[in-house]
Amino acid sequence: MLSIQGLSVNYGPVKALTRVSLDVPRGEVTAVIGANGAGKSTLMRTLAGLVRPAEGSAFLDGQLLTGHKPEDIVRMGVALVPEGRSTIPELTVDENLRLGGLWRTRAERAVSHAEVFDLFPVLGQRRTMRADTLSGGERQQLAIGRALMCAPECLLLDEPSLGLAPLIVTQILDLVKRLSTEVNLAVLLVEQNAVTALREATQGVVLNLGQVVMSGPAAEIASHEELRHAYLGY
C-alpha cells in the first residue's frame, strides 16, 4: 500500500499542496480528481521524487519514499508515467521500453518486455519504429509499458487521457484496472476527466487548491451532486 501522510509542497510563496493524506491500496485503482491547478500533478511529481515536499511523507509498504531521488524511488517500486509525451520520440519503441528498469538483470527485463508486448500487442508490432511515429494512444501505452518495465509495486498515472479519444482512454484504463488486480498493483490515477476516472476507480479523492476536500468510494463521489458542481464543474 502507498500511504501519503500530511504532504505539503510549496513553490516559493505558493502553497501547491497542504497536508494531503491518502492511502492507495494494492489491487485497485485510486483516482485523484480535481480542476486544473488543484495540485494533482504536483502530488504525483512529489511522490516520484521530482519535487521535494516542505513537510509530510510517503511510504510504500512501510518504506519511506520522500527524501529519496527519483532514480531510487523507481527502484523502490514506485513508477510514474508523467503527464503528456513521456516517451522519448528519438528512440525506438524497443529502446523506450528497454530504458525502463536498466538496473534489473537481463533475464528479469526480458520477462517484463514479453509481458508488456502481451499487454499492448500494438507495441510488439511497432518495436523497431521511432516513438514519434506512433499515435497518441500508442505512445501512452508505450509510456505505461516503460513504467511496467521497472517492475513497480505502485503505478502513478498522471492524466493518461490527455489528448486521447474516449474509446482509447477507456481501453487503456480498463487494462490498467485489470493489471492492478492481476499483479496486485497499487494504482494512483490522476485525472481531470472525472467521469472516466471515477468509473474505473474503486476509491476517489477530490483535490481542490492543494487540499483533500473529499475521499471515499468512487461511486459515492461520482453521485455527489454538490461536490460535482463545486469542484468538478459539471
Binding site: L50, R75, I88, L91, L99, C150
Partner: protein, 292 residues
C-alpha cells in the same frame, strides 16, 4: 586535377583528427548542453602527459593509453569544476566557465612543461607512401590516424546503439527527466559522458601533436576547426561531427594548398558564420525533429 586529388587526400588525416575533437565537443554538448571550450586545453594537457610518458618509456602506445586515462580523469574534474558550482544557473554560465578552465589549463601546462614549443616524436613513418609507382599524399602515420579515428567512431557508435550505458546516455541527452523516472542515474551518466569526451579529445591531441609541435597554446586552432565542424554538423549529432570534421579537414587542405595555410582559419570562420545564418540547427541537428 592530380593536385586537387592530392590536396583532398592530404586533408583526410587532419580531417580525422578534427572529427575526433568535434566528437568530443558533441559528447559534452549532448550530455549537458555545454560547449566545452576547455576540451582543447584538456587535450593539450593530456598530450603533454603523453609526451612525458613517451620520453620516459619510449613507447607510443603506452603514451597514448596514458593520455586516454588522463583524459577521462580530467574530463571528470573539469565537469565538476565547471558544472557543479553553476548547476543552478543557465548553462551559458558554465560555457564561460569552460573558458576559465581553458586558460587555467594553459597556465598550468606552461608552469609544468614550459611555454616553448616542443617536438612530439613521430611514432610512425611519415613519408609519402609509394604505391603503383606513384607517390601518394598519405603516410603510414596518416593511415594510423585514420584507422584509430575510425575505430573510435565505430566503438562509440556501438556503445551508443548496443549497450545499456549507451541507451542511458542517449535517453539522458534527449530527456533527463524521463531517464531519471526510468531509473537511470542521470548525474553519473553525465559524468561518464564528460569522461568519454575527455578520452576522445585526448586521442585527437596525441594524434595531432607529431604533425606540428606542442605548446600550451598550440591546439587553439584545432578548437576553431573542431567547433566549426561540430556546429555545421548540428552539435547534437555524432554522424554530423564526424562527417563535417572530415569535410573541414578537406576544405582546409584545399584552401591551404591553393592559397596559403594562414587563410584556413578565416575560411573556417566564414563557414561557421554562414551555417549560423542560414541553417542554425546544423546539417544533422535534431532541433527540428524535437520541436514537432
Amino acid at each position: 586535377m592530380t593536385t586537387f586529388i592530392d590536396y583532398l587526400l592530404g586533408g583526410v588525416g587532419s580531417g580525422a583528427i578534427i572529427a575526433l575533437m568535434a566528437l568530443a565537443l558533441v559528447l559534452t554538448w549532448r550530455a549537458t548542453r555545454v560547449v566545452n571550450f576547455a576540451q582543447v586545453g584538456q587535450a593539450m594537457f593530456t598530450t603533454f602527459i603523453a609526451l612525458s610518458i613517451q620520453t620516459a618509456t619510449g613507447n607510443w602506445f603506452v603514451a597514448l593509453i596514458g593520455a586516454m586515462v588522463a583524459g577521462a580523469l580530467l574530463g571528470v574534474v573539469v565537469q565538476f569544476l565547471v558544472l557543479r558550482p553553476v548547476n543552478r544557473m543557465d548553462t551559458s554560465g558554465a560555457i564561460i566557465a569552460t573558458f576559465g578552465v581553458l586558460i587555467a589549463l594553459q597556465a598550468a601546462a606552461g608552469m609544468i612543461w614550459g611555454g616553448d614549443s616542443q617536438a612530439f616524436p613521430q611514432p610512425f613513418d611519415n613519408s609519402a607512401i609509394t604505391l603503383f609507382g606513384q607517390e601518394w599524399p598519405l603516410s603510414i602515420y596518416d593511415l594510423v590516424v585514420i584507422t584509430l579515428a575510425a575505430v573510435m567512431v565505430i566503438g562509440l557508435t556501438l556503445l551508443f546503439t548496443r549497450t545499456s550505458l549507451g541507451l542511458a546516455m542517449r535517453a539522458t541527452a534527449f530527456n533527463p527527466e524521463v531517464a531519471r523516472l526510468s531509473g537511470v542515474r542521470v548525474s553519473r551518466t553525465l559524468t561518464i559522458g564528460w569522461a568519454l569526451a575527455g578520452v576522445v579529445g585526448a586521442v585527437a591531441g596525441v594524434l595531432v601533436a607529431p604533425s606540428s609541435t606542442i605548446s600550451p597554446n598550440s591546439f587553439d586552432i584545432l578548437l576553431v576547426f573542431a567547433f566549426t565542424a561540430a556546429v555545421i554538423g548540428g552539435l547534437d549529432s555524432l554522424v554530423g561531427a564526424v562527417s563535417m570534421g572530415i569535410g573541414t579537414g578537406l576544405v582546409i587542405s584545399l584552401v591551404s594548398g591553393y592559397s596559403d595555410s594562414s587563410n584556413a582559419p578565416v575560411v573556417a570562420l566564414v563557414l561557421l558564420a554562414a551555417t549560423l545564418l542560414l541553417k542554425p540547427e546544423g546539417l544533422f541537428g535534431h532541433t527540428k525533429a524535437r520541436s514537432v
